[in-house]
Amino acid sequence: MKTFRIGGVHPSENKLSAGKKIEPMALPKQAVFPLSQHIGAPAVPCVAKGDMVKVGTKIADAGGFVSAAIFSSVSGKVAKIDSVIDASGYRKPAIFIDVVGDEWEESIDRSEELVTKCDLNPEEIVAKIKDAGVVGMGGACFPTHVKLTPPPGSKAECVIINAVECEPYLTADHSLMLEKPEQILMGVSLLMKAVNVTVGYIAIENNKPDAIALMTEKAKNFPGIQVVPLKVKYPQGGEKQLIDAVIGRQVPAPPAIPIAVGAVVQNVGTAYAVYEAVIKNKPLFERIVTVTGKSLANPSNFLTRMGTPMSQLIEAAGGMPEDTGKIIGGGPMMGKALLNAEVPICKGSSGVLLMSEKESLRGEEQNCTRCAKCVAACPMGLEPYLLAKLGEYADWERAEKEDIMTCIECGCCTFTCPSNRPLLDWVRLCKNTVGGIIRERNAKK
């Protein structure tokens, strides 16, 4: 069984909502669309207060090449363009839409019928993906059309679909694979066509044997696509780790990107979104969200319209447990703690995790005992204990020499530290600062 080569940890999986059917979520009363839902420039609103919109109407244009358009997930009236506390913890501009009825744009094909034929050429596919505002659905929200446009001089050799879902608790991708396998496979075929390759891998960790079996069975009808079962290890869903695990190549340090080793990595949710965008003309405005937590009455997977407040999902899953200490947007390893439950679901919200106060409290910080467990756990072969110290002492030059920029912020170091040291907090600070220094230096040149 394949896996990546360096480091890694085994957090307890806690896939509470595994095997649960995807349930459609009721429409919210008011939907909120933050303009920064992706990596890159924020989108620019193209509606004004009082405008009527339908489901699928574009409400904000992409603010640049590395950016993505935003579409309304509801029909109704634009109430205001104001600010809302989003997953970043800060107030960011957002479009508020009061929901009236549920009227869809006519161009969207709402039939369930599976279409496995597509006569579009690669440029047309990429253009359609771009026009549908599709971004990476794994959490980083990198605009998909950018990934599908390799920089000149590089050539893709294969498409790797990330279906490992290595984060504990989350099951959104898992449930999607069980319910929409053919659509996903068609989406993968489209992605392969878009970058002009004939080889596609779907990587699934072997804690999802049902998904592996089903996808392998269905993949027989799609030439070139192969399901690759992987050993369970975090952070296998990291792009670099996944490429290493599947095709045994290691992507060099930034600024190199996966295309340097001929790989294009897409999330399985993205593949599905691509299918819907290209075949069904449906822009990205809904996604599967896992709502989970140990004290939650009914952990579930919801098909949710974007802009729905998380509190509504929590209510539908049995209500907020009394002992809730932390609401996390995403999984427990890389997700962000949220300030309140009113944060709207965005393109990258793969899950909502409720942790009890007891679970979420960090242990008391002690001295580093130099046990080297963080060094053994780091999937990038770094020395987190050292980088954290350099961050604390603000020694940016040394940190850069110690390859801090290659850190993927997976959290293995903090997870494993017996002294409960907030290693990643410091490393992240250090990485951001060093990144700023490097950008400044490059700008001067």
């Binding site: 427990p332 703690a337 979420s360 001295n367 080297a372 390859d403 017996p418």
Partner: protein, 318 residues
């Protein structure tokens, strides 16, 4: 701040495993040296914990309780392991004060010390009280403490080989089981190996350091024994005799004073093994382990700087 989950690993958990791993050797010492061993261990542990608490409270004025991490207990047991069972109490207390007060807390407590506290204390005592520290009681005196009958240790006998040129009559089986004189914890190689198994099974340590030390010592003494069969004892005697096992398994593997990367750990282990053999065979002391480890402790920062882990997608530099 992500990550929001933790492995549940903790310093005290690791320390607890170390203590559990030391139990077989400790029990053997109680069996072999009787009351003396119990007294020495108890006093050593108690004084180490006391000094840690007192220094934290009255000198550093630190509210944090660092006793709970059990590192002082580990230091106490390790110190006792390194002492003869008939050592006067005041010497033990001085040793504990040196270990905790000078070697550990002066540098900032657990994690900041350059040298292994228990080892440094042992060497300190060895130099300060050379006679008391080098007479070891014979095995099997259950109730004796200060009046215990002493005898030469096997390592001293082996050392004497070089000058006398006659083979010392030391039973290998006795060495392995621990039916010989020596300091508390070092006598039974079998019990110490059991401890190693516990440490490895609980993933408290990795195999790199102990194995590299033992292999190096075995190989080097083996070569020397072939070259000088009379002067140098067999590699088996070296392996099971003296403090080698204790040092390789419990002392050299101390987190704080050992290198971070597997490669660094192998280099560290090899150097310790090399120095031990050099001191044992060519030096004045019959025992070389503690000096070898202390010397290599000083090189750890250098090793850490030189041996970087293999970076992702990068050839290892140097």
């Amino acid at each position: 701040m992500s990550p929001h989950v933790h492995s549940g690993d903790s310093v005290s958990k690791n320390m607890r495993w170390v203590i559990i791993a030391m139990l077989p050797a400790m029990l053997w010492s109680f069996y072999a040296f009787g009351m003396g061993a119990v007294i020495v261990t108890a006093v050593s542990v108690a004084s180490c914990v006391f000094f840690e608490w007192a220094i934290n409270k009255y000198i550093l004025k630190n509210d944090k309780c660092t006793i709970c991490d059990l590192s002082a207990v580990v230091t106490g047991i390790l110190l006792a392991f390194n002492l003869p069972s008939n050592l006067p109490l005041y010497i033990i207390i001085i040793g504990a004060l040196f270990a905790i007060g000078v070697v550990k807390m002066t540098f900032g407590g657990l994690g900041c010390n350059l040298f292994n506290p228990a080892l440094a204390a042992r060497v300190f005592l060895l130099i300060s009280f050379p006679v008391k520290m080098t007479v070891f009681p014979e095995v099997g005196q259950m109730t004796a403490y200060a009046d215990a009958v002493t005898a030469a240790t096997p390592m001293a006998a082996i050392k004497a080989q070089i000058s006398t040129g006659t083979l010392a009559d030391v039973s290998l089986l006795d060495l392995f089981l621990g039916n010989v004189g020596g300091s508390l914890g070092e006598v039974s190689a079998l019990c110490l190996l059991l401890g190693l198994v516990i440490l490895l099974a609980s993933r408290t340590i990795t195999w790199h350091i102990p194995v590299s030390i033992l292999v190096t010592v075995f190989a080097l003494t083996g070569l020397l024994h072939i070259a000088y069969p009379v002067e140098v004892a067999t590699p088996w005697h070296h392996l099971f005799g003296g403090g080698l096992m204790l040092g390789a398994i419990f002392m050299a593997t101390d987190y704080v004073t050992s290198p971070m990367t597997p490669k660094g750990q192998l280099i560290y282990g090899f150097c310790i093994g090399f120095l031990t053999v050099a001191i044992r065979v060519f030096g004045a002391y019959p025992e070389g382990m503690s000096f070898a480890i202390l010397i290599m402790n000083a090189f750890v920062p250098l090793i850490n700087n030189a041996c970087k882990p293999k970076r992702f997608a990068k050839e290892v530099k140097k």
